[in-house]
């Protein structure tokens, strides 16, 4: 099917698929794992919650194994034939276009009260905020995995590393909570974007407004 045929087909459809079933499953399994990690992490960390929950060994084990399994949904979801769309979206999230940079500069200009460029940047499937969020979750998640593993299997490592790993793990956990709250706030502010993660589809109008370069196929070079 050529690009023109695709566009022609899509101009007839009122809704288009943004996230396929695999991507949605990976997203919601990740969300569940993060929720368990945050709750068990809090129950290991905050004294009032420790008093309420206790059972340190059990909570530790849950936190540990859920943490270790965190990369699995994404890895499984990105393999084989069913992972095609997810893999392509990972590529889209990785790559930034000039338009993305323009969007980011526009945010800085708006924040500092400078006049903004007249033309709106033609963004692809993901805006730079979403790209940064995904990259932060990927990189930060790996750091949490590494520091967490070091804290569990600490014996070969010097004490200063363990102290450093605790320091990084705790502060990064706080950053994750802030990031996830922001992520949820953005989702609730744009119900159609949220619906895309629930049922998969967005309207052509939404795509034209938020992701024009995705709609016309030019963000997939």
């Amino acid at each position: 099917m050529s690009a023109t045929q695709v566009s022609a087909e899509h101009s007839r459809q009122r809704v288009i698929l943004r996230f396929d079933r695999v991507e949605r499953t990976v997203h919601w399994v990740n969300a569940l794992l993060f929720l368990v990690l945050i709750l068990t992490g809090a129950a290991l960390y905050f004294t009032p919650l420790i008093a309420l929950v206790g059972r340190r060994m059990l909570i530790e084990q849950i936190h540990l194994y859920v943490g270790l399994s965190l990369p699995l949904p994404l890895l499984l979801g990105a393999t084989a034939g069913w992972g095609r769309t997810l893999r392509r979206d990972v590529g889209r999230i990785n790559r930034w276009s000039e338009e993305d940079m323009r969007w980011l500069r526009g945010l800085v200009d708006a924040a500092s009260g400078r006049p903004q460029a007249a033309a709106r940047p033609r963004l692809g499937k993901f805006n730079p905020g979403q790209k940064l969020n995904a990259a932060f979750v990927a990189g930060g998640g790996l750091v949490m995995l590494g520091t967490g593993a070091l804290l569990r299997w600490y014996v070969p490592f010097p004490l200063s590393w363990r102290a450093g790993a605790t320091f990084v793990h705790n502060w990064l956990a706080a950053a994750f909570v802030v990031l996830i709250l922001g992520h949820i706030a953005f989702a609730l502010a744009d119900r159609e974007a949220l619906r895309a993660m629930l049922r998969g589809r967005v309207s052509r109008a939404w795509a034209a407004a938020h992701a024009p370069a995705w709609l016309d196929g030019s963000d997939d070079r």
Binding site: M1, I16, R21, A51, I93, G146, R162, A163, F167, G200
Partner: protein, 259 residues
């Protein structure tokens, strides 16, 4: 409709006419200034920062602690990671309350078993220490004041048998146990503490009586201490059966063995 994304083009890249045929692998960024792998760079930067934080974070943490100390911002410090405060653990379903008729028992291989109220414990010769509390997971509280009775003094008071080589320690929370050899107790000056942070040991911190073992990780300092039993050999306690070293020296070896 099948669940497949249909835009953009599904044609393989080689079939798309506007892709330059001489594209070299790994050279895309240079040839296509519109596309930069910023996602990958972000991930790699975070990994680098994480590694740096692990290697040098303890210094940053110490800095934060001392700043908060000098500001007397204890309430802030108690919430912030690395605030130099206790994270108070428990392995049961909460912080257990001491029974009304609480007694600290000293028994096992002794001629004269003891059963002491807190007041009776306090009437014995006291040992006062100002030492750091170091958790095995990395956090530390500096300069904690401790007061209590040395384990070896309690063993002497109870008339420990010559065959006794270790202490087996039990918590009234019903789960926590610990052990310490007689030699380690002598060397570290471990105490059955009834005072901590300048006040009676609180329920959360393991009151009315807990152990404090200087120079060893915090898990050795068993909380809610109710029984000190003299035994022949040390046997692994609760955390040690779950993978922690029985010899919990912070420095990695007994002070006497240091080169």
């Amino acid at each position: 409709m099948t669940e497949r994304e249909t835009i953009p083009s599904e044609a393989p890249a080689s079939g798309v006419p506007d892709v330059p045929p001489t594209r070299l692998p790994g050279d895309e960024a240079a040839r296509e200034p519109w596309s930069r792998p910023i996602g990958r760079r972000t991930v790699l930067s975070l990994l680098g920062l994480g590694a740096l934080g692990t290697l040098f974070g303890s210094h940053v943490q110490a800095g934060i602690s001392s700043v908060l100390d000098s500001l007397h911002a204890g309430s802030v410090a108690s919430v912030l990671p690395g605030g130099g405060q206790f994270t108070i653990y428990t392995i049961t379903d909460g912080y257990p309350a001491a029974p009304k008729d609480y007694r600290l028992r000293v028994d096992g291989l002794v001629r004269n078993p003891l059963s002491l109220t807190v007041a009776e414990l306090q009437s014995l010769p006291a040992t006062r220490l100002t030492r750091d509390f170091q958790c095995v997971t990395g956090w530390e509280v500096s300069n904690v004041h401790w007061a209590g009775v040395r384990l070896v003094d309690l063993a002497e008071q109870a008339g420990a048998d010559l065959s006794a080589g270790a202490f087996h320690l039990t918590s009234f929370d019903g789960a926590y146990t610990e052990s310490l050899t007689l030699e380690q107790a002598r060397e570290t000056g471990a105490i059955a503490a009834y005072s901590m942070l300048g006040a009676p040991v609180t329920r959360e911190h393991g009151g009315p009586v807990r152990l404090y073992v200087p120079e060893m990780f915090g898990y050795k300092s068993i909380k809610w201490l109710s029984r000190i039993e003299l035994v022949r050999h040390a046997e692994p306690g609760y955390w040690e059966r779950n993978g922690y070293p029985v010899d919990a020296w912070i420095s990695g070896q007994a002070p006497g063995q240091a080169a």
